[in-house]
Subunit: 637 residues, 2 copies
Amino acid sequence: MTSSSTRQFRPLPVPSVTVGGYWGDWQDAVCDHTAAILLDRCVAARMLEQVNPDVPSPGIVIPIIHWLGTPQMFWDSDLGKSIETIAYSLYRKPNPELEARADAIIDMYEKLQDADGYLNSFFQRIKPEWKWTNLRDFHELYCAGHMIEGAVAYYQATGKRKFLDVMCRMADYCVKKFGRGPGQVRGYCGHEEIELALVRLARVTGNQAYMDLAKFFVDERGQAPNFFIEEAIAHNRDPKGVQKNTLEYNQSHLPVREQTKVVGHAVRAMYLYSAMADLATEYNDDSLTEALETLWADLTQKQMYITGGIGPAESNEGFTDYYDLPNDTAYAETCASVGLVFWASRMLGRGPKRVYADTMEQALYNGAITGLSTDGKTFFYDNPLESTGKHHRWTWHACPCCPPNIARLVTSLGSYIYAVADDEIAVHLYAQSEARVELANGAKFTLRQDTDYPWSGKIGIAVDPETTARFAVSLRIPGWARGAKLAVNGQPLDLAVDAGGYVRLEREWQKGDRLALDLPLEPRVLRANPQVRQDAGRVAIMRGPLVYCLEGADNGAGLNSILLQHGAGRVETAAIPDLRGAIAIDLPALREQANSWGADLYAEKAADTEATTARLVPYHLWDNREPGEMLVWLRER
Amino acid sequence: MTSSSTRQFRPLPVPSVTVGGYWGDWQDAVCDHTAAILLDRCVAARMLEQVNPDVPSPGIVIPIIHWLGTPQMFWDSDLGKSIETIAYSLYRKPNPELEARADAIIDMYEKLQDADGYLNSFFQRIKPEWKWTNLRDFHELYCAGHMIEGAVAYYQATGKRKFLDVMCRMADYCVKKFGRGPGQVRGYCGHEEIELALVRLARVTGNQAYMDLAKFFVDERGQAPNFFIEEAIAHNRDPKGVQKNTLEYNQSHLPVREQTKVVGHAVRAMYLYSAMADLATEYNDDSLTEALETLWADLTQKQMYITGGIGPAESNEGFTDYYDLPNDTAYAETCASVGLVFWASRMLGRGPKRVYADTMEQALYNGAITGLSTDGKTFFYDNPLESTGKHHRWTWHACPCCPPNIARLVTSLGSYIYAVADDEIAVHLYAQSEARVELANGAKFTLRQDTDYPWSGKIGIAVDPETTARFAVSLRIPGWARGAKLAVNGQPLDLAVDAGGYVRLEREWQKGDRLALDLPLEPRVLRANPQVRQDAGRVAIMRGPLVYCLEGADNGAGLNSILLQHGAGRVETAAIPDLRGAIAIDLPALREQANSWGADLYAEKAADTEATTARLVPYHLWDNREPGEMLVWLRER
């Protein structure tokens, strides 16, 4: 299914899309609470003492991150992501106080920056002697990447160039330092991130050197001799001494175009593949796209939770064996699903394909947003699909990567809904929103969705060009939507879904054109490939893009005693007021009785059962009410 | 169900019972291989360098045992258990070379012992300054306990008193050091063991001071103010700093008679309860028995795997929540099930009750012996009930507690089969064996079982008194044995099972009296209490005392794709030549087809199924053939 398309789709900039409805509520939560909380907690963690050249260095505050074996040395990344979040939030809700706090941090970084452009508060303030000694473990370029993303967003949001200029100087420094020329380092970062950040920086500045450096980092990765082994030997370290003892951990075991299996640390993998997808689009590089298509199938057909969660193991924060998807111990880091959204959205750069957009939506609604409480104040790091009632969102973490990651995704969501090519707009996600678009072919229009999606499947789309204009509107028809209907200006249309799973409407658009899309949201009963041992004999319920679960708040304790009975009664849906009006699903079920079982732990009998109604709620909203059990994969009779 | 019986049953000494058949094979494996392997690997681990005062001290060889946070400081216990194993093995198979090696180690300990009787190679040779500074964490009395058990066994096996005398001097030292008198320490060990060892020492020496010291340790445990808190404060340590931050970890949270819940480290708990049961018997202490009955129900009705494995969590090597029994991550340490056998056998000290003997048998055949390969050369530490094919027996371990523990249990098995009171012999286990008995009432007889148990349920029992004598023979009728039959001298007997689950035959026994017991071994289908979420919707197959499992060697990969179909065909049994003639069970089943499922990881369909025959083998024999998956709790249609 190699794409040889030369069409290049790029996301709409965040400021071009106003979001309301379901995602508007999430954005409000981040604007009103999360954005400031991120800064508050970064300050409480003593990050600013490390950054601010005017106060004494705090030294190493957290000596060991247990899964990494190094001190906490990547706080710049948390500040970068927090500033990025604040930037996006300022579009939606101007907030002079928050803006001033961000400006103050940017001022510190500007003051801290070395004359040659180098900037990393850990290596400048805490351990100068470690600078550039360990690209594999020390997150040095990773931090630069997140700072660049923050700088790009802050520039776009506020028009202020200071942070962008600071990070351009750091990028210029890197352009000099890394490369294949004499005296340059042929290395790359152990935690990918700088690559996709440089693409963003190149796009906003138009500086091709940044794009080429991104390409260099991606192309060099995994080439022989392996840079990380050479680097370790050069610094008298055991080349197998850390990082889970594998090159797979950071995807440097093979040149990226030869990689066929998704391995290692999940977030690292997603950020790498995101950059590869960006570069495939920018350079029309089919060799990258082919590798990515293989990796995509590997991930989504063998290694992904139904929630779009990825990376089942805590030990490497990443991938294990094919079809190994434990539910109660699922790591499925919030950041990894955020990264999957990044990757999927970038796979759409070479044209609309629902194989990517469907999974982007699945990861967004189930793997990623679950990481944030509805009030925007607490966070999941890992996202199990089963809980005995002890798993809850926390207020902060020694490695606080997930909170700003989900927050920046939420606040930039507009750019994931739409993407544009020269003469086309693709609608990848359905969400109450208004996009203000100007295509390269000159068409200028607004596209407005009116919908209560994901609770309702009815979507009204208003296309209002300033003047009549020819372009295409491509609408995703999700793979799960059987019996979808589309009308144009009230006239039903035969649904001509193309090979990519989109309906492409190319026409002369006029002010007042109206589309009506109806995606049926009947609850669906899904089973896993029989090779997923942990889901054997169990089903998951989905409705539209949402995975559902049983929660103790509705069903009491002992969720594994509940057996769904399909067809034994009516399937009802109901709005839940204390979950933002989310739609619950009520299903007929049996419940095994523990009371009548007796004292024996094991016995030659079946448990008594009693008829009941099982209430399912959207998985991503669990643990927002009273604490209790949770279960996604359910028994059935 | 409090026992106020004043009957005292004690095990027959190991030399009084010759074992053959099934357990004879295991004993041969230990005599021929394990016993020498234990010494070889203790030597390779550098233990003797620590013990031998004539060579330089090796210093701390293993700086940290990760779950404990201390160096490896309990090697004396491994040597003690190894010598105990060797002692028992010498009954069965004299081995001058092995005996000479044990003698040489005993000579080292004799030479090492301080003039005041103190003996512990770690604190004498490596860290004298730590001596008696940390009873909670440092295993000092625990080591003495295992050395005492080894000394008792070696004396009984060889008649040589040297090791016994050495350990009596250490026990005398402890009698002086610990107690409620002026200048004495009112403490006890963080890892129970010394208590049950002192009971054994008292029984073999007749020295009541040892018995009373055991009682002191048990009675003091958990009294307020808590000794371990006081001890930590006295040595300027954080009283909550180690040992999983709980007093429950070592069962010192409450006085033992007030404990109602089985908590903490599983082996510690079992050794404590074993000592409590011994003391309940020796002192006819109903208050201890009552506490033990409560703890017994707590363990066996809420916290025990069907294998008799206990302690599901690796984090504390112990207990977690009621009904929390994960199968694939089950810790279920071999030592813990060995400890459960110890406890259960001692609960029989106040009279035959199958509630204890049935569980003793269950833990013996499924939780404990699984820890040893059939060739006696490799060992399981943890015993999951499900494996994807990566769990295998190892040759050694930084904490090599399990190998000698299962080895000493196997070689002393005769003493678990039978127990005697003044005028009675109880047959708790069925096994090819001959017991030579002299009761306190003067009756002198041999009791011989001829049986292929556990493969067959037919047991012939020959009772041959030297002269006609009156005494009782109590035969356990296992709770699972429906339709058991008994004949005396060819005459069928109405099976009058008493409240404890035994048939008690009190009569004038004559030479040539013959009993024929027939315990039906029909495969049984068991389910777990619905509160065990991990077993929901699944069944386990047992036959007699044996838990069965699916293994990859017979059924290929993907064991969770197999659904048993009760009643869809014949249940067959067959002997497996490459597993010592073990009986396999063949059951009709369906198998979900992964081949025809397609590429989707999740889909709205059920997998195709195909009829098949599932072969089940005894769980304790798994991983003795080619490596592969294993599964105890099976799906059913």
